[in-house]
Symmetry: C2
Subunit: 384 residues, 2 copies
């Protein structure tokens, strides 16, 4: 397999984009990435998206995006694995280049969620769960996460306020990210006083929906000047788990994250101690805790300790959500995985401004589909 | 890139499967393919599906299928490109093996359409067209094809009855296929007397919806005994066109089919004269005509001649729809591309029974997404 490099990135601000259609959002990010990569043509396109069938009555985003950005006739498909669709698309693009089939690939993650009524988006998000055995019984997606969080608190003796620092850290970092949806710091007091959504998940435990798109251009490293500094894909791995939580033997372990992280570490030849930045999937604070544990940064049940002790801050042992994470940058579901990649690239290029982490060659992204049922992990490496 | 072989196939009958859920259909086909391939484990899974978000309120089919067939933890995603989702999934699986990333891949196409009200399926199918510039103005997917057919008849002087033999041939072949939805021959008279759906498309011009699943197992050829006869992927190519018909300079040409077929021929080192069987995308008879032209079997505007002269029959110059095609085998949209592959494999293995074609080493499938906006072509080769 060939070495694959990220040669361009692009993103839109995550917001309520009433003035931009699905294709306009995707196009803005895609064309920015292609401009940075200095390519006017790509060999194939992979679009990460989860909800457009329901929320925009538009499927077939491969063709839509290819045509809109002037790449008509280019091979283009959509990849879907619920909220990890973005990373799954990135992984498909990576494989296409690594295989030798194509040399330059565009990957775009896009989601437009705020045009639809809340009830419709709630229904659409629930399609990530088991329609027959979870959703039919009345569970929403927040409710599934609330069940996990409640059990976690019971098993390990945590209070809901012990999760506050995950949200506070994310918001503190988002202040400096012009693309973030919520550039506003929050305090422990605002966390405590935020309204309950689904006990024990309050508004500050949960990430916001949004409209947005992010994109990357991937190319075979052979095409770059041999002495150029570059960002390469050092690890790419995905694993599934049961789609329904009740089928899991250890519902408080993200087994799919453990597996995909372990494989990505092996591919990159490193371990957790080598990761300088970790863009994790903090759709809910409980997922932040479980991700840190699954990726080897904390023992099972001990994820909140890292947050409480400040180890997830920019200056801490494992900086996370350095551009605001899902919590404050925002979570346009099918685009999130590409935002994570874009952010790690910025960190490794030392272009992260006030939330720049220091002195590391490796960054990791982890994107969770469903309630832990499809988890995609990537490790990017800076090569000077 | 490594050589990739099809080592197992499976399919369900296409029908109204009131007693089988989406996962049960997918599982039946997948487990049959794995049994034939004699594998109990696969390295990754690609699911082709278009409509389940709307018609079954179930996304995330990668995880759902992996878990259901006993492959929990396996890397699995859904691939979507409207009605060519099945072939797009096959192509993704092919690339995964060809890249060297994995050795054994399962590809499943599945669709369950008859559980939903007709209005909902019509809405769902229309998501393959341009939501902003076609569907918002009231066009359904049948209407788009009717516009193309009407213009084609005007430009080339055909009558609607000149398309009858496409349907008659498909039904004649489906009689012998136990997996076909409509195993009933039709006559020119029944074609003429069938009700009009959307002028000039009548009921016999159009393929039926249905529930069904088909699956294949792909493996690296190196894993097979060196002297084994095998079916390999000799060509794999996809191309897009504008998602909206009105943006095309030549709306009566399937440019994406011309491009992807030409590239597949080049990869296989052959031309149209070498193809012994062509499983084309006869969703409507007009698409049958356009596909034959785009693939080099007829001049533009002359596709119906092949049908009228009997050249598309099993004994003709280019046998098509040998198991009934979309018209009579049925068109469970996201599964169709895999049915086509399964059928060509059966032909090359000389297991096609009464509709067996003779003496050829190459078969071709072509799967159309949207109104010609995403077309995937595969050439399979028998190696003895």
């Amino acid at each position: 397999m060939r070495e694959v490099a990220v040669i361009g990135i692009g993103q839109t601000k995550i917001d309520e984009h009433w003035d931009k259609s699905l294709r306009e959002l995707a196009g803005e990010a895609a064309l920015a990435a292609m401009a940075e990569a200095q390519v006017s043509h790509v060999d194939s396109i992979y679009v990460g998206n989860m909800l457009s069938d329901i929320s925009n009555l538009q499927a077939h985003l491969g063709s839509m995006v290819a045509d809109w950005i002037g790449q008509r006739f280019t091979d283009a498909v959509k990849i879907e694995s619920a909220c990890s669709s973005g990373s799954a698309a990135f992984r498909a693009g990576y494989l296409a280049v690594a295989s030798g089939e194509v040399d330059v690939v565009l990957v775009v993650g896009v989601e437009k969620m705020t045009d639809s009524p809340v009830s419709e988006i709630t229904t659409a998000l629930a399609t990530a769960a088991d329609a027959d055995w979870e959703v039919d019984h009345g569970l929403s997606f927040v409710a599934l996460n609330a069940l996990i969080m409640k059990r976690y608190m019971y098993e390990y003796g945590w209070q809901s306020t012990d999760f506050a620092e995950f949200a506070i850290n994310a918001h503190a970092n988002a202040v400096h990210n012009p693309y973030a949806r919520f550039r506003k710091a929050i305090t422990e007091s605002s966390f405590k006083n935020s309204p309950m959504i689904c006990d024990p998940i309050n508004l500050m435990d949960a990430s916001p929906v949004g409209d947005g798109a992010a994109a990357v251009v991937l190319a075979c490293s052979d095409m770059l000047p041999s002495n150029a500094s570059k960002i390469i894909v050092a690890g790419s791995s995905a694993a599934t788990d049961s789609i329904a939580i009740h089928s899991r033997k250890a519902p408080l372990r993200l087994s799919a994250a453990e597996l995909s992280t372990q494989k990505a570490y092996e591919q990159a030849g490193i371990g957790p101690q080598d990761i300088g930045v970790f863009e994790y999937h903090d759709a809910f604070t409980i997922m932040a805790a479980l991700s840190l544990e699954a990726a080897g940064f904390a023992e099972p049940g001990q994820g909140p300790v890292l947050a409480k002790e400040g180890e997830i801050k920019i200056t801490g042992r494992i900086p996370v959500a350095t551009f605001g994470g899902l919590k404050a940058r925002g979570h346009p579901v099918g685009a999130t995985g590409i935002y994570q990649i874009v952010e790690v690239v910025q960190q490794l290029q030392e272009k992260a401004g006030k939330t720049q982490v220091t002195n590391h060659d490796f960054g990791m992204t982890q994107n969770i589909g469903g309630s832990g049922s499809n988890i995609v992990t990537h490790i990017l490496k800076r090569v000077n």
